[in-house]
């Protein structure tokens, strides 16, 4: 049966000083979202392999949520119902090293 299941790449994603890909090898999913970790102070930059720490080539910049309110989020989903988003090509950077934005990714699996 076809199921939409969480990717192993989901969870707090610790960024240490440089933009990093969500997955180290090609990982195709249907949906991915990135949110600042509630209570942390980093801006979160999202982009491709050419993402710069100066916000160059950023496809999204998320503001931190230090003290309440809804977290900003970057969400991408293939509306055709296919696993077309490669997590190894999506890079994340936190302006404070060690902060850990939350990554949520779901992909189709046939079980």
């Amino acid at each position: 049966m076809l199921l939409l299941t969480p990717s192993a790449a989901s969870g707090p994603f610790t960024v240490n000083g440089a933009p990093a890909p969500i997955a180290s090898s090609s990982t195709l999913v249907n949906q991915v979202s990135v949110k600042p970790r509630l209570g942390q102070w980093s801006k979160i930059l999202i982009g491709g392999p050419n993402l710069g720490t100066d916000e160059s080539n950023a496809m999204a910049i998320l503001y931190p949520v230090p003290n309440g309110g809804q977290a900003d989020a970057f969400v991408l989903q293939d509306q055709g119902g296919q696993n077309t988003i490669d997590l190894s090509q999506i890079y994340v950077y936190a302006t404070i090293p060690g902060d850990s934005p939350m990554v949520e990714a779901f992909g189709y699996q046939t079980l």
């Binding site: 049966m1 199921l3 977290a71 939350m102 990554v103």
Partner: protein, 142 residues
């Protein structure tokens, strides 16, 4: 928590309702209301105890409550240390409607083709404050 009892389609009744990956013609709720995880191991409970396949699931911080809500997979039930560190998402509380015009933080997952592909038994919810009750809604197409 209210779960409607749907006709099991597997011989062993291992799950209720339609099979994973199916697509019916009528949208029904299978899970609605405040969700209590306080009696579960680690305080992290699956949305359903047996596999139940939905096309849409929504989890909302309960207005007036004060703790964060972590959402993740089965690893949350046996995590050591911070349970939220095993989650993939956290919702911020909405205790006094003072942020975002009172809107509550909400997580939504839906199948873009409206297939019943989301196994509710694999989605775990952990309220940071035991006894708090996020609002959960799930729909199936039967």
């Amino acid at each position: 928590m209210a779960v409607s009892q749907l006709r099991g389609q597997s011989s062993g009744l291992q799950y209720n309702g339609p099979q994973g990956g199916s697509r019916g013609s009528q949208l029904v709720t299978v899970l609605t209301g405040p969700f209590d995880a306080s009696s579960a191991p680690n305080g992290a409970a699956p949305l359903t105890t047996t596999p139940q396949y939905a096309t849409y699931v929504r989890i909302q911080a309960h207005p007036g409550q004060e703790g964060k809500i972590a959402i993740g997979g089965p690893g949350m039930a046996n995590a050591s240390g911070s349970v939220a560190d095993s989650s993939f998402l956290e919702l911020w509380p909405n205790w006094d409607a003072s942020f975002d015009n009172g809107r509550s933080d909400t997580w939504v997952l839906s199948d873009p083709k409206w297939l019943n592909t989301i196994d509710l038994s694999q989605i775990y919810v952990y309220p940071e404050i035991a006894g708090e009750t996020p609002i959960v809604t799930a729909f199936q197409l039967v």
